[in-house]
């Protein structure tokens, strides 16, 4: 066990000795800062909140929006009006924009995170082969399986730390710019065709959780390709190509029944929880989870097998 912890430590030291890893955190921080500045300076977010007579304020707002819509056909405010009506019907006082609302917007950075994790996962194995250091790793009294596992767990640790970093950074910046309203705020959002009140913290966790599923699968795919080909350019290129092309391939093949077994038909679990439809009719959450788990296990086995069983030959 002590042995294994030192392997994890080694991987962390190697990862954070390189500028490219730090640059990923810097890029994430920059995007959040930029988004924060834009929202604070140009955004029409309401951080003041409504007064005691918020019902009258909402009524007046709706009338004004209605008038704008009648004046110009380009002004479409139906959503805002419906949202305001929901507040009035349910008798909920709208809450001002704050750090929680700000943080919940960054689930869109999930794609960026996937990209970073694919790059890291590809480099962990292929890098050792590129530098030739794999030979010096394999001639220690430690099994190849342990080395492989330490590398895979390193991806998970890094994923988690990037998530925590993103969340904390957005929360801190958000509370500096917009303030923070309590520890369990709620917001009103469109779910399917209905408006409903949701707890923001729960919302953030479920959004981030869904991204995490996609992220883990893509990182594992990159890790597998990297073990098979021992080449990081191949692993990064192929995985990112599949990330972009996967959905279109599924749409192209959607007339066939077996298309629902394709990884990319199942990787986005969002439709089962919110608005939108699964890519192919008749798919259920259980089905998608089973398909994803199967792919996940196959990726892991292939990666483990290639890493531990194959000879390390010359260049």
């Amino acid at each position: 066990m002590l042995n294994f912890l030192s392997l994890l430590k080694n991987e962390q030291v190697k990862l954070y000795s390189r500028f490219s890893t730090w640059s990923m955190y810097i890029i994430l921080a920059s995007i959040i800062i930029l988004a924060g500045m834009i929202t604070a300076i140009f955004g029409d977010v309401d951080t003041e909140g409504y007064g005691n007579d918020w019902r009258a304020e909402l009524q007046a707002e709706n009338e004004q929006l209605q008038a704008e819509m009648e004046e110009s056909e380009f002004a479409i405010h139906e959503n805002s009006i419906n949202k305001n009506n929901y507040y009035l019907e349910q008798d909920i006082k709208p809450q001002p924009y704050d750090a929680w609302a700000f943080t919940s917007e960054f689930s869109m950075l999930g794609f960026m995170l996937s990209l970073f994790m694919v790059i890291i996962a590809s480099g962990l194995i292929a890098g050792e082969f590129r530098w030739g250091t794999i030979k010096l790793l394999f001639i220690r009294p430690i099994s190849r399986t342990k080395i492989w596992l330490s590398k895979y767990i390193t991806i998970m640790i890094t994923t988690l730390s990037m998530f925590v970093f993103m969340f904390l950074f957005a929360m801190i910046l958000g509370s500096l710019l917009f303030g923070i309203n309590g520890l369990s705020p709620s917001m009103v959002q469109l779910s399917g065709n209905e408006w409903e009140q949701v707890n923001i913290v729960k919302e953030i966790l479920s959004q981030y959780g869904l991204i995490l599923v996609e992220l883990v699968i893509m990182a594992t795919l990159a890790f597998m390709i990297s073990s098979l080909f021992r080449n990081s350019a191949m692993a990064i290129g192929l995985t990112i190509f599949l990330m972009f092309a996967g959905a279109s391939v599924v749409i192209y093949l959607s007339e066939y029944d077996w298309a629902k077994f394709i990884l990319f038909a199942n990787i986005d679990l969002q439709p089962y929880f919110g608005p939108g439809q699964p890519m192919i009719e008749g798919m259920t959450l259980t089905f998608s989870v089973i398909v994803l788990l199967t792919y996940y296990v196959v990726f892991l086995l292939a990666s483990w097998f290639a890493f531990t069983k194959r000879d390390v030959a010359g260049h």
Partner: protein, 305 residues
């Protein structure tokens, strides 16, 4: 004495091609063993099998009696090695690199790392990134990581590759010291006899994956052993007559030179006799060892390849 490392009928095939054929030899503690062969003879493949980087097709490698095949961890913990180039993480400094390998084995203290660093003379380079090291410094780093856990078998693949003569001399001294003082069995591979001849006790020659010979290296020829002596003299005929008068020898004339096979102690007497009889002696050479002949016989055939 139990061998530190033993190769038993070792074979390696890749596809249908046999790369290593029936290799067997033993290396003993305190011995420096040369592993010599032309490029492509299978030296690195054999070394990769010794340290478990490549699977053994048949046969076995035993380290202190433990099989690499059956108990990899038990066998490999006694081995330190450089396979091909001494590669390190270029983006980390020397100390972090050594620390990295130290963490992979039990009981290596910072004290021990410093000890190894001073043995290879890299104290001043520890804070520098390995990417900036010269080839010689990287060779020494390679030796340092191989020595961390006090191995009883040290395998060095082409350790003199890319080193200048001073560097080769230094490495030679480390290796001799390790063998003599710490009783480490050292295996040194090379494709150049001249680079390892001076540091080895025994040298094996392999070609096309087969063992050609294992020879003892004799640094000074024994007194009663015969050596081939060549003399450049004038006049040649008179010299031949003088030598044949004093000694019972078969003297062969080659243009302006004479050759004969004599024991080492008779050489001064022959020269003395020639000088007394007014023969001019320009040059006395003893022909190189049988090892070199054998090596050139082996690699001479594929010098072009």
């Amino acid at each position: 004495m139990q061998p530190a490392m033993e190769l038993v009928n070792l074979y390696k095939s890749i596809g249908k091609k046999q790369i290593i054929k029936n290799l067997s030899f033993s290396i003993y503690p305190g011995e420096v063993f040369g592993f010599l062969g032309p490029n492509g003879a299978g030296k690195t493949t054999t070394i990769r099998m010794m340290v478990g980087l490549m699977k053994i097709t048949s046969g076995d490698v035993k380290i202190n009696g433990t099989s690499v095949k059956n108990d990899f961890k038990g066998a490999i913990q006694h081995v330190g090695a450089i396979v091909e180039n001494p590669e390190m993480y270029p983006f980390m400094n020397g100390w972090k690199n050594l620390k990295h390998y130290a963490r992979m084995m039990n009981g290596i203290t910072d004290e021990r790392i410093r000890e190894v660093v001073s043995l290879v003379g890299l104290e001043k380079a520890m804070k520098e990134k390995v990417g900036k090291y010269s080839l010689g410094m990287r060779q020494r780093m390679g030796i340092a990581q191989a020595l961390l856990h006090r191995p009883s078998v040290l395998i060095l693949d082409e350790p003199t590759n890319g080193l200048d003569p001073a560097g080769i001399r230094e490495i030679r001294q480390y290796i001799r010291r390790l063998a003599e003082q710490e009783q480490v069995a050292v295996i040194v591979s090379s494709h150049l006899l001249s680079e390892i001849e001076l540091m080895c006790d025994r040298i094996s020659i392999i070609k096309n994956g087969e063992l050609v010979t294992v020879e003892e290296v004799q640094n000074s020829t024994e007194k009663d052993e015969r050596v081939e002596v060549w003399l450049e003299v004038e006049p040649v005929d008179k010299a031949k007559a003088v030598i044949e008068k004093h000694h019972e020898l078969e003297v062969v004339v080659h243009h302006d030179k004479l050759s004969m096979s004599v024991t080492k102690e008779t050489i001064p007497e022959i020269v003395k006799g020639l000088v007394q009889d007014q023969v001019n002696v320009y040059e006395v050479t003893t022909k190189s060892s049988s090892l070199e002949d054998k090596f050139f016989d082996v690699i001479g055939e594929n010098t072009i390849a």
